[in-house]
Amino acid sequence: MSWEGRNIISIDEFSKEDFYRVLKNSEKMIDLLDKGTPLNVLQGKLMSSLFFEPSTRTRLSFHAAMKRLGGKIIGFSDPRTSSRKKGETTSDTIKMASAYSDVIVIRHPNPGAAKLAAESAEVPVINGGDGSNQHPTQTLLDLVTIQQERPPSSSDSNIDGCKVAFVGDLKYGRTVHSLCTALKNFDTSFKFIAPEELEMPKKYKEGTDYEETNELELSDADVVYVTRIQKERFPRPSEYERLKGTYVINENVMNELKDDAIVMHPLPRINEIKSTVDSDPRAVYFKQAFYGVPTRMALLAMVTGALEEGELI
């Protein structure tokens, strides 16, 4: 089935086959980037980049992805410089951008904005994060990272067979919830490591093979996914102070890890991973940020119809 015209709004809409397709096409883009092959498949195409709230990695990597494919970009990164300031609705802004461009990327503070954008637009819409709701391309690049950075496996993917440890704020962390949902499509088991106040909600644990602890014990993990613990999540500052140093990845923690384990983080990090472990080959969070580009290249090429069944048109 062609993805031409498809909106990418929520990870919940992805089937197992969809995930494999994104992994395969992202790998193709990684190869092309590695070879330095100049691409012009989206030459003459325009991407509207509508950032109703600030973002660094998502915006830059979408822009890099579009430009790597030979396309161009219009849009705004600060709604104060757009007609939002005059009171225009999101829906109207989208309709206008839809008339001007071939694909729309939207980041918005209000949950549900991406679905409304898809309903308002005549061209495909990719959700670059809508408030507390969804950020599907982050989840997809996380999967691509595991697929690329874990040792080759005889299973259908390198993700199968992994024990994934999630560390930090598992209660409110959107990236953690989405990735956990996506990983249910693979043969994975989980370890949820969080303080009691920030435990993984039941609905994500249901139907999975998991263990839960508040001890940072990672010797059996294949993938360690670290998130930031935010001060504002705690009713009492003293609770935050007590816990903030508990889940820090430092050299001692790295020494406990398996040789082929990987450490991921959606970034930005504050204190939860010491910069002294950055040079450890198992610390892949900057590679993870890089994979945002080929993953988004694959998605842009797929929804605009430039990439079908792994072949660039």
Binding site: P111, G112, L116, N133, K203
Partner: protein
């Protein structure tokens, strides 16, 4: 045995789980000025105790019956005309609800001024919860038990 007079024209919502009657009343009563009677903790052979709601000269539309089913999934609704039961039906929990309830998440795009997004929910069962199709939030009964008919 408590006696409440029969209504001649209107609707009787029966077999409401005991205690849920006030919520159902708030939901369906609208701005009627005709008599509305809520009987609570009435003995029932089937349910032990139940609540019954009688609304004179009020007939409930399908959207409202969908809302009733959220609070009282086992309720039966009798439409009374000229003192006779013209139709007796069970409410049915819909799989989705569209356009009749606002999303309970104030940040949801459907609650932003002038945005043309009609609130839409997927109905989750056991227990009944509503999942907003826009913002993705899931709402338990405590959110919708006090809603009023829009």
């Amino acid at each position: 045995m408590m006696l409440v007079r029969h209504i001649r024209n209107g609707t009787v919502v029966d077999h409401i789980k005991a205690g849920k009657g006030p919520g159902v009343m708030k939901l369906v009563k609208g701005d009627t000025e005709d008599p509305v009677v809520l009987a609570m903790n009435v003995s029932s052979t089937r349910h032990g105790k139940k609540d019954i709601l009688k609304l004179e000269n009020v007939y409930l539309d399908e959207d409202t019956l969908d809302l009733v089913s959220l609070l009282a999934p086992n309720a039966t609704v009798n439409l009374i005309k000229e003192g006779e039961v013209e139709e007796k039906r069970k409410v049915k929990l819909p799989s989705e609800i569209k356009g009749v309830l606002k999303c309970f998440n104030p940040k949801c795009i459907t609650n932003q001024e002038r945005e043309p997004a009609e609130p839409e929910f997927k109905v989750l069962k056991n227990p009944v919860r509503l999942k907003c199709k826009y913002c993705g939030e899931v709402f338990a009964e405590k959110f919708f038990k006090n809603v009023q008919k829009p």
